[in-house]
């Protein structure tokens, strides 16, 4: 039998009001989180693909594909086999924001690593790093089967 909306809301409220659970002690939570730092990197059978720069548009120039308007961010497009990586680098009050997107079928749920920072992609294959300082960095996108590597991205 399907539960009516009112009954369901009543049940939700009952669950809310009888929930007497509390957070675990902070030191136990920290221990559990820190545990993961000991994880050994698995020997990798990951296919490594080097990406090549195809387009690099400096900030202030016309936006690619648009008749008017200029980009605030530096835009770069890299090719990596059947895939491409779009990057936008934008200066912020503190450092730079590097936003990107992996384009192409089947490359999803990946982690992006840059300047020793690891972030996860969202469902659209987008990722973002904040507060990146000026310098030259490698960017790696790894979905467990394939790794796209972009070497020597200059951020300044």
């Amino acid at each position: 039998m399907v539960e009516s909306s009112d009954k369901r809301i009543e049940r939700i409220l009952r669950l809310m009001q009888t929930d007497d659970s509390v957070d675990a002690p902070a030191d136990s939570i920290k221990w559990s989180k820190d545990l993961f730092r000991t994880r050994q990197k698995q020997p990798s059978a990951v296919e490594r693909i080097k990406a090549a720069l195809k387009i690099d548009i400096a900030p202030g120039t016309a936006v690619f594909g648009e008749r008017s308007g200029t980009a605030e961010a530096r835009q770069m497009l890299f090719e990596a086999g059947d895939r491409a990586v779009d990057l936008r680098i934008k200066p912020e009050a503190e450092g730079y924001t590097v936003q990107g997107q992996a384009l192409g079928e089947g490359f999803e749920n990946f982690t992006a690593t840059m300047a020793a920072i690891v972030v996860s992609s969202n469902e659209q294959g987008e990722f973002a790093f904040e507060g990146i300082k000026s310098g030259t960095y490698d960017l790696s996108l790894n979905n467990g089967d394939e790794e796209i590597v972009i070497e020597g991205i200059e951020i300044s």
Binding site: S5, R8, I9, I12, L13, L15, M16, Q17, T18, D19, S21, V22, D23, A24, P25, D27, S28, I29, W31, S32, K33, L35, F36, R37, R39, K41, Q42, D86, R88, T97, Q99, G100, Q101, L103, N109, F110, T111, V118, V119, S120, N122, E123, Q124, E126, A128, E130, N142, N143, G144
Partner: protein
């Protein structure tokens, strides 16, 4: 690139917060520390509640929490159904709790998982470790998670009306969120509907 990439950081962040369990486990397998921390944050309260409900003191419950995440850490690459991580954590914490409860009664812990299952199947209805009690804990976890996804105003309204003791009046809630008192009743109903919708998806 889609226009989504040009949306603000909050949207990217909130989408990342909503990574489902399977995506989190897969990210952990790739060595993503932030995914592991998100998993611990998401489930620590649920895991900790199981030994506490069984009457174990905080220190022993904390040990069980740590042992449960240690076991997850060790078996991360073997989990057959990453999307069922919540059930896996509940079962693991339940077994570890039962092991402690049992040894405190002077019995040796069961040697195998099957033996443990058999013993647990014979628990009396009132036991805090019977399936029904654990389902309630899981449902409470889901409601807590859904509440976090509501916008701030709804969180405030529902918390003030349902989660404070004594419950706040509509006038007090109205003052807190800066609307007229007559708006609270429809707002409350709308927030409950939103909560219900989140829980049904």
């Amino acid at each position: 690139m889609t226009t989504a990439s040009e949306k603000n950081e909050d949207q990217l962040h909130s989408r990342s917060l909503e990574r489902d369990d399977a995506a989190l486990v897969k990210a952990c397998r790739r060595g993503d520390q932030s995914a592991w921390e998100e998993l611990v944050d998401r489930y620590q309260r649920l895991v900790f509640a199981i030994p506490r409900r069984a009457g174990l003191p905080e220190s022993e419950a904390a040990d069980i929490l740590q042992e449960t995440f240690l076991t997850l850490f060790q078996k991360l690459d073997e989990l057959e159904k990453p999307g069922k991580i919540r059930s896996w954590l509940v079962t693991t914490a339940k077994f570890k709790t039962w092991g402690v409860v049992r040894s405190e009664k002077g019995h040796h812990a069961p040697a195998t998982e099957q033996e443990m299952e058999l013993e647990m199947a014979s628990l009396e209805d009132g036991s805090p470790l019977v399936e029904e009690a654990l389902v309630t804990l899981e449902e409470q976890h889901l409601v807590r998670t859904a509440l976090k996804k509501l916008e701030e105003r709804c969180k405030t309204i529902l918390s003030m009306i349902y989660l404070t003791e004594p419950s706040k009046t509509y006038a007090e809630v109205a003052e807190a969120i800066g609307v007229g008192a007559t708006s609270i009743s429809p707002l409350r109903a709308r927030c409950l509907k939103k909560l219900e919708k989140i829980l049904s998806t």
